[in-house]
């Protein structure tokens, strides 16, 4: 028996493509965000509100991943998205860098401020795939358990922001905002929190301001 050392990352091909995407976007000062959550936490709703509120101040492109249907992409177009590209994975539970590379030529990144990737609703698999984003934004809604960060440490450790959505429903379930934050901090002390309701609009202004500031910070680094 002979041992041959390989020492190769399993996802090295994905990671190489992700580095290319990141270089391409960073070279033009484009901020890129990868939105992750369980199905139904409100990723598309938050993006609809974002497009409606700041879509005329920023040049935003969106890539909307779904296992089946282009429903999310259509909702984002209806909400005013000028550059919306669907990716139907046809069963795959995550987006990978190859899928992003394929659709990226369809976006005019020279004119772009912000690229938003809406991942497939899943808190496990998308954690493994770098898409070339600057940060992952994780959503948790108040109809879920407040132990979610503890159940999916891989995703929350890799995220930079956690949006607690559907706060208009607080009190109708046992969800505790302080508890979810405590659990999230145990996994990642540097997480930044937003509390939002896409139905009432509560908390959205803070999110919009942060987004505009973060886009500006990225552009200023050029």
């Amino acid at each position: 028996m002979k041992k041959v050392a390989i020492e190769k990352k399993v996802l090295s091909e994905n990671d190489k493509l992700a580095v290319k995407i990141r270089e391409q976007l960073t070279g033009r000062g484009v901020l890129s965000l990868n939105f992750v959550s369980s199905p139904g936490s409100g990723k598309t709703s938050l993006l609809e509100k974002t497009l409606a509120a700041i879509g005329d101040q920023l040049n935003i492109a969106l890539i909307a991943g779904d296992v089946q249907t282009e429903n999310d992409a259509n909702r984002l177009i209806e909400a005013g998205g000028k550059s919306v590209l669907p990716i139907v994975t046809g069963g795959s539970c995550h987006l990978d860098a190859k899928m992003i590379s394929k659709v990226l030529p369809g976006i005019n990144i020279d004119e772009l401020d912000l690229l938003i990737i809406e991942n497939v609703g899943n808190l496990v698999c998308p954690a493994s795939y770098d898409l070339g984003e600057d940060m992952k934004i994780a959503l948790v809604s108040t109809t879920e358990g407040h132990d979610k960060p503890l159940k999916y440490p891989g995703m929350f450790r890799r995220s930079s922001v956690m949006v607690i959505n559907k706060i208009d429903l607080l009190g109708t379930s046992d969800f505790d905002v302080e508890e979810v934050k405590k659990n999230a901090r145990q996994i990642n002390a540097n997480l930044k929190f937003f509390e939002t309701s896409c139905r009432t609009g509560e908390g959205l202004q803070n999110w919009f301001h942060w987004l505009i500031d973060t886009v500006k910070t990225k552009k200023d680094r050029l």
Binding site: K9, V124, Y129, R185
Partner: protein
């Protein structure tokens, strides 16, 4: 359930290495799987065993080493193992820690028939 696509990547990478280095029968693929890599070893093995049927790697098995999460405190500079996914320094309680190990998903080695 992305273990199937991970298994596919492992299969393709090993097959490429085998052909490139002109290796004989591969008996074992040694993997390093970090505890924070979001991979289920059992599903990975199941997926790999399904893919390898009737291929050059039909007799190849996976050997997985699970790598614990190792942290490095940015404040007090101590190194420690992260237990129960509590990501703070056990020495100074700081949450500013760098993960040194535990995220990896790596093909470490191949064992070849002599």
């Amino acid at each position: 359930m992305h273990e199937l696509s991970i298994a596919q990547s492992i299969f393709e990478t090993v097959l490429t290495e085998k052909r490139k280095k002109n290796l004989s029968t591969i008996e074992k693929i040694g993997l390093k799987i970090g505890s924070l890599s979001s991979i289920l070893p059992d599903s990975l093995e199941f997926s790999f065993n399904a893919i390898k049927i009737d291929t050059e790697l039909a007799d190849t098995v996976l050997e997985m080493e699970i790598i614990p999460i190792q942290g490095n405190c940015k404040d007090c500079k101590q190194k420690f193992q992260v237990h129960d996914y509590a990501f703070f320094c056990p020495h100074c309680q700081s949450g500013q820690i760098e993960i040194q190990q535990g995220m990896e998903m790596e093909i470490a080695y191949l064992e070849i028939e002599d």
